[in-house]
């Protein structure tokens, strides 16, 4: 059915990204003699990148609204960590309550920024640049320039702990944490059931469906991947608690962006603000909500990161905003908004994470790592732009011809107007 082909073509970029990620993983696994995919390191990878993924999800929503970014998230992470440290370590408050309070602080920050951006119409870049300075300053004020440590066990347990093993004596397939493996299997089975169920429902309601092969292929690839991940984790100490947090966030936001009215409105806003407004989308409120949401997710990332550091440090979260933004763009988000997916951002964050981790294992200095990461970002976006404009096509052709004339990116706009693969009759 040609309609599925169109869908496939529209999502081609994402498949390409996924393949790049797999290629990078395989390459580093070979370069590090298999250290990259050792159970302990896989567990590490999750801990190292959880907060970047959380931030990237929030950042994606901001970018979707029209290429707006949030520069303040690194500072918000620090401020929330500082608050958590002060509440729990200095004042000895109940950790659960403190976490809740920290999330509320994040919400408040989001409301503050969203107000200026959406209702006063201050460009997001400027409003959040201000936020970046303000919240970093507040962090220093709260901590008085000092680092607070360590956090009590009850707090750390949520974000740096592993899920408890219910069957400590069972050593299924030689794994250390049988429960983890079981969870993986259950998730994989649920995934298959949901897929089949939705397929059956669609056939029943006489909607058009993809071919059976597609139905089989998707679970056949994804389910083993899930089981494999949980198996590897089970070989070490089990499923990290933070993976559960992450999983919930990813599923919820993927659902919001792809299946709900609010999500569709987000894409419409970024795609064409005027058209969206004239189609009844409340554009100001949507922009506001995107930043409120960013505040909340930055707060979650802040609590997670404080736990990972096991301290509240004034310098925490430096440069996180850039990691999150880079993850979104590597994952195929458009700098002008309206294009991008949660899955893409996850892939983008993972590409960065694996690069970091892989190069660290190989003993490459962080200075070189920065260079590589920067080039990967440029390369990913350049690939996207070039493949879209077919510049390369003309460029290489002209080069081959030995044409010395000045090269012109043969204006794709004009082609669409009057010729090219459009469907005019």
């Amino acid at each position: 059915m040609s309609s599925w082909k169109t869908t496939f073509r529209n999502n081609l970029k994402q498949y390409m990204m996924l393949f790049s990620l797999l290629a990078i993983i395989i390459a580093f696994n070979l370069l590090t003699d298999g250290v990259l995919l050792k159970p302990m390191n896989v567990s590490n990878l999750i801990f190292q990148n959880a907060y970047v993924v959380i931030l990237a999800v929030g950042m994606l929503l901001c970018i979707l609204t029209g290429g707006n970014i949030d520069l303040s998230v690194g500072s918000v992470v620090a401020l929330v960590g500082a608050c958590a440290g002060t509440f729990i370590i200095s004042w000895g408050w109940n950790p659960h309550l403190s976490i809740l309070l920290c999330l509320l602080i994040g919400l408040a920050i989001g409301i503050w920024q969203g107000f200026w951006i959406a209702y006063v119409r201050i460009p997001a870049f400027i409003a959040t640049l201000s936020g970046m300075l303000v919240f970093r300053g507040l962090t220093l004020l709260v901590l008085k320039g000092l680092t607070l440590a360590p956090f009590p066990k009850e707090y750390l347990m949520y974000f740096t702990g592993y899920i408890p093993d219910l069957f400590p004596n069972a050593q299924l397939f030689g794994v250390k944490n049988t429960t983890s493996l079981l969870i993986g299997v259950i998730i994989a089975i649920c995934f298959c059931i949901i897929q089949i169920h939705s397929y059956v429902m669609r056939v029943k309601k006489q909607y058009s469906v993809e071919s059976v092969w597609f139905l089989v292929l998707k679970p056949a690839v994804i389910s083993p991947a899930i089981v494999w991940l949980f198996y590897v984790l089970a070989l070490y100490r089990g499923v990290p608690m933070v993976l559960i947090v992450l999983g919930i966030i990813l599923v919820v936001y993927d659902f919001i962006t792809s299946r709900t009215v609010v999500g569709r409105h987000l894409y419409a806003l970024g795609g064409n603000e005027k058209a969206a407004r004239l189609s009844g989308v409340n554009t100001h409120r949507l922009l506001f909500l995107a930043y409120v949401n960013m505040g909340l997710l930055a707060a979650i990332a802040g609590v997670v990161f404080a736990a990972r550091l096991n301290s509240a440090s004034p310098q925490a979260g430096n440069g996180f905003e850039l990691d999150a933004i880079a993850a979104c763009f590597i994952g195929g988000a458009s700098a002008s908004g309206g294009i991008g997916t949660v899955g893409g951002s996850l892939i983008g964050a993972m590409i960065m994470g694996v690069l970091n981790n892989g190069m660290s294992i190989m003993g490459i200095s962080t200075n070189v790592q920065q260079v590589v990461k920067g080039l990967v970002l440029l390369g990913a976006v350049a690939f996207d732009v070039i493949s879209k404009n077919r510049i390369s096509f003309t460029f290489w052709k002209r080069l081959r011809k030995g044409d010395r004339g000045r090269f012109r990116a043969s204006s794709p706009k004009v082609e669409a107007e009057d010729g090219s693969p459009s469907l005019h009759q």
């Binding site: 040609s2 309609s3 169109t6 869908t7 529209n10 669609r202 309601k205 909607y207 058009s208 299946r259 709900t260 009215v261 609010v262 569709r264 409105h265 894409y267 419409a268 795609g271 064409n272 005027k274 058209a275 969206a276 407004r277 004239l278 189609s279 009844g280 989308v281 409340n282 458009s334 309206g338 294009i339 077919r390 096509f393 003309t394 002209r398 011809k401 044409d403 004339g405 000045r406 012109r408 043969s410 204006s411 004009v414 082609e415 669409a416 107007e417 009057d418 010729g419 090219s420 693969p421 459009s422 469907l423 005019h424 009759q425």
Partner: protein, 516 residues
């Protein structure tokens, strides 16, 4: 016998997968106005891009002979050196630079890179006088009207010592009065300075008015060249060449079934400008539409018609809006676009690319956007249902796309316009405000759009058709309101309206001889 200035011989240009031009031949004489016509996608713009070097030598096959010499343009610079200047449909002036600065942009009056401003402005003034624009050369371009900007583009071309001026739809966003100004300027330039022009246009009456010869393109090939110097060519003759068949009727028949019941009424509507809060853009306007009636508002650009429609549509434009909106006898207080939509109003915007469609989204997502609640359950979109419904509208409106997942930017202008209509028909409104529904659409697609409009009104919907094409208004509507400078200055039934009558109304109103 005039001499041949330009000859393009067997030009063939391919884009990946599409042959945009197939063995096109065209001969342009020195000192003539040559019109290039054809439906959207016939290859007019591509041909001109080949000529001006936007598609460089080597990317097409065939020969261009200009003034007796074979050209191998690598880019616009090369063609401009020969005096071939193209003015694109989307004006390329920089809003925050002055008229003088714009006129010499890329052609700066300089010595070793240092600009001589006195010389620049002196020359600019000279050219400005030639094109007849009454503005200071230091005025910023953003502060002058579109029609003046268009004239500035011509002046800019003159400053480059133009010999062959190419205008791509110069009048598409102009009203008839301003269009005439441009066309008259071309005639003057031809007669006084011997400048040759090629004009691309959809407006056949304008072509009949100014062109000496007319070349018709269809599906990337030349059909024929008609000579108007001897005797005039009828519009029907041109259309026949364009569509390849006789189109006796440009407006489809409709069984008129106007019911007495007033479906929609606007009373004493006043709107102020969004930026200049003390400027009235709509001044005490009242009108009404009956069920099953098409009412036209004819007004020139800047007459306040778009502002009126948008202000009615949930205050999407303007400030300090006052007046009442009554639908089916009930007064409505529409404070936002969603409220307007929920109360059965639809506004089809005049500029589909700018404010109508999400070009990078699929047909399906575009169509369902105004009423996602029709396909959603508690905020959750049923994507299968959405697809099914979108597919239904695609078929009903005859949108030529393989499926509804197709991105809108890949469709032709006429089909994009149909998507825009589909989107608002899907919203199931009772009252449709159509703002220039056939702008930039070729004759064939226009006819189909008129058919759709007729079907809607036969279903008993009330339709307001805003247009700056008089023939369209006269061909489609039952009753006409004429709007000028924010006011309704006349109302007349279709049977009493004539082109001359309406234009006279406006002329006299601008002179201040009558007031509403």
């Amino acid at each position: 016998m005039a001499k041949v200035l330009l000859e393009m011989r067997s030009i063939t240009k391919e884009f990946p997968g599409v042959k945009a031009l197939d063995n096109v031949n065209i001969t342009v004489m020195e000192g003539e106005i040559h019109a290039l016509v054809g439906e959207n996608g016939a290859g007019k713009t591509t041909l001109m891009n080949v000529l001006s070097g936007i598609h460089p030598y080597g990317t097409y096959s065939g020969e261009i002979v200009f003034d007796g010499r074979i050209c191998q343009h690598q880019g616009i610079k090369d063609s401009e050196r020969l005096g071939i200047v193209i003015i694109h449909q989307e004006l390329a002036l920089i809003p925050y630079l002055s008229i003088g600065e714009n006129m010499f942009l890329g052609n700066e009056q300089h010595r070793r890179g240092i600009i001589n401003w006195d010389e620049t402005y002196r020359k600019a003034e000279e050219y400005l006088r030639i094109v007849g624009v009454d503005e200071s050369v230091r005025t910023l371009v953003k502060d002058i009207s579109i029609s003046k900007q268009q004239l500035i583009e011509v002046a800019k071309a003159l400053a480059k010592n133009v010999r062959l001026l190419i205008l791509d739809e110069p009048t598409s966003s102009l009203n008839e009065r301003d269009s005439k100004k441009i066309l008259d300027l071309l005639k003057t330039l031809r007669d006084e300075q011997g400048i040759t022009s090629i004009i691309i246009s959809h407006k056949l009456n304008e072509i009949a008015y100014c062109a000496d010869r007319i070349t018709i393109l269809r599906d990337g090939s030349t059909v024929e060249t008609l000579d108007q110097t001897m005797d005039s060519v009828s519009e029907a003759r041109i259309i026949k060449g364009m569509v390849g068949r006789e189109m006796s009727k440009r407006y489809p028949e409709r069984t008129i079934d106007i019911r007495d019941q007033v479906a929609f009424e606007v009373k004493n509507f006043t709107v102020y400008h969004e930026l200049y809060h003390d400027r009235k853009v709509v001044d005490n306007v009242s009108f009404m539409i009956r069920r099953g009636e098409i009412v036209g508002i004819y007004g020139l650009i800047g007459s306040g018609r778009t502002e009126l429609a948008m202000a009615i549509f949930g205050r999407a434009y303007g400030v300090k809006i006052s007046g009442t909106v009554i639908k089916d006898g009930q007064m409505l207080e529409l404070k936002s676009v969603p409220e307007a939509i929920n109360n059965g109003l639809a506004y089809v915007t005049e500029d589909r690319k700018d404010s109508g469609l999400l070009l990078k989204n699929s047909l399906m997502h575009n169509i369902t956007l105004p009423r996602l609640d029709y396909v959603a359950n508690k905020g959750r979109i049923d994507r299968d249902r959405e697809k099914q419904i979108a597919e239904k509208y695609r078929e009903a409106l005859g949108i030529k796309a393989p499926n509804v997942e197709q991105l809108v930017e890949n469709l032709s202008g006429g089909n994009q316009q149909k998507v825009l209509l589909a989107k608002w028909i899907y919203a199931q409104p009772d009252v449709l405000l159509l703002d220039e529904p056939t702008r930039g659409v070729d004759v064939g697609a226009k006819y189909e759009i008129y058919q759709i409009v007729n079907q809607l009104v036969e279903q008993g919907k009330a339709i307001l058709l805003i247009s700056s094409e008089l023939t369209e208004i006269l061909g489609m509507v039952d009753r006409i309101y004429v709007m000028d400078e924010g006011q309704i200055i006349a109302e007349m039934p279709r049977s009493e309206a004539t082109q001359e009558g309406i234009m006279n109304c406006i002329m006299q109103h601008s002179k201040g001889e009558i007031s509403a």
